[in-house]
Structures are given as C-alpha cells and as structure tokens.
Symmetry: C2
Subunit: 83 residues, 2 copies
C-alpha cells in the first residue's frame, strides 16, 4: 500500500459543505479500488484542493476521483512522510 | 492561527534522511515567526514536497522556509480541512 497526494485546481469559492459532499463521493467509490481518502485541504481563494490517500497505485486513485466526478491528473506517490 | 499547505519542486532523488534534515532546519527557524511545520510528504521521483503548517500568515511560512534554505512561493492557506 502506498500513500498519495493529489492536487485539484478550479475549486474557487467552494464551501466546506461542498468539499464534504465531494469527499463523500470519493468515499462512496474508493472501496472498489482499494483506495482510502484520508484527508483533504481546500484553499477557496486559489481553488486548490490537496487530497491525501492510500491505495495500491496512482492509477487507482485517479480512477476513484474520476468516477466521483472530480478528475485530476496531478497525483504524486509520496513515499517519504515526516510527521 | 491559520493552516497552510506549501509546495516545493526540484527535490528529485532526495532521501528520507535529507528530508528530515531540511525539516529540522524549518523547526529551528519557525518559532521566531509563530509557525509550526506539522507534516511533510515527498515524492522523490517527481521531486515534489508538500508541507503542512500552522501560523499567522502565508508570509510568515514563506520567511521560515527561506531562512531554512528551501524557499518556495507556492503557499496556500487551506481554510477548509476534512479529516
């Protein structure tokens, strides 16, 4: 299992409620891919969203986001993590 | 106190030890700005680093990274966070 950070653009002005709804759609789709979306951060001014997930591959993360209706091609496998 | 995600590029091939050293330099500089770097994630293949921090302003985060020797101008105030 690997860890991924992915980045979305264009979420300008999105509210916490709307981000939660988008996140819920990921959670509804993720099991089929063995992915789990752990956290998400939104900057509504720039429209950037960062999602932290675990899963078998970058491609599996990409498919979950695509099926949930917010595709991104900017997905990084973050193999080093400092907490 | 706000939460920030910042992004660095060019860390291709950086090791966990090297990332920890860079993070330690942030920790050594952060108190003067009232910033705290909480987590960092590295993709050594693409060279991307994501840092999660709290602090009073984007500018304060920028100054800590600059003094620590790894400046970035890509800093987002992530006012919405889903855990």
């Amino acid at each position: 299992m690997a860890t991924f950070m992915d980045v979305h653009s264009g979420f300008v002005g999105v509210t916490e409620t709307q981000l939660k709804e988008a996140h819920e759609r990921d959670l509804a789709e993720e099991a089929a891919e063995g992915v789990h979306f752990e956290r998400a951060w939104l900057d509504p001014d720039s429209g950037k969203v960062f999602c932290l997930s675990t899963g078998p591959s970058k491609e599996s993360v990409r498919r979950v986001h695509e099926r949930a209706g917010h595709p991104t091609s900017e997905i990084y496998e973050v193999s080093v993590d400092i907490a």
